[in-house]
Subunit: 114 residues, 2 copies
DNA sequence: CAGCATCCAGCAGGATACTG
DNA sequence: CAGTATCCTGCTGGATGCTG
């Protein structure tokens, strides 16, 4: 899921892409944002992701220090996720991507009239 | 290669991730930067990418308006690529990702002494 | 040189069932 | 509820050879 060749690169940019350069992770980080959120919420908010893949992505994000996982010893279990300082610092970048897309996408898209 | 479900999303951010959210495209855009570059150069500069995948990625980037392809009618053929305005506008974002990684990666990495 | 066509292996990722 | 385990399929992407 994570490309080890990227993560072992001696180029820091390549390593960064190895960490967050796939389709799910930016989505997950963006959905979490500044809140604390439970596994089930993420699963229902993010369309089309399977629980298995969500689990894997969350684990990698935790390993890479982008988010914190809080598991409560309860039954039924409760697990909460929130972004770490590193993860929070990535939010403005996602914001820039949004703005970039809004600015340039429209020009080349077929316009819909609602 | 491009996830159609992402590109057809009604969320502009999700569409953006559908466009550039994979490991090769940010690398390619970063390598091209502000210069004009030939196919063979890209192939040799970018480690580990196959010619087939490079071709596919370049085609998608062109379709999404991120880069311009200039094919000279010569023999042997010469094809040059350069970023469009949209592509150039993405460079600062990549720069932010570099800085973000440099700032936060180190803390969690085993330090090497050279 | 810059691709495209073809073939093929490996793995991503979906579905389902089970557990603490 | 929040996972883990297992199975299975399809697609990604590598290797190779051909062409204008």
């Amino acid at each position: 899921m994570r490309d080890e060749r990227f993560c072992n690169s001696n180029c820091p940019f390549t390593r960064a892409i190895g960490t967050i350069g796939n389709k799910w992770k930016p989505i997950i980080i963006n959905v979490i944002g500044t809140r604390t959120i439970r596994f089930g919420q993420l699963d229902s908010i993010i369309p089309l992701i399977s629980r298995k893949v969500l689990t894997e992505q969350l684990k990698e994000l935790e390993e890479d220090g982008l988010l914190e996982r809080l598991a409560y010893k309860e039954l039924p279990p409760r697990v909460e996720y929130k972004l770490s300082e590193k993860g929070l610092a990535f939010l403005p970048i996602l914001e820039n991507i949004k703005e970039w897309n809004l600015k340039y996408e429209v020009a080349s898209m077929p316009q819909e009239i609602d």
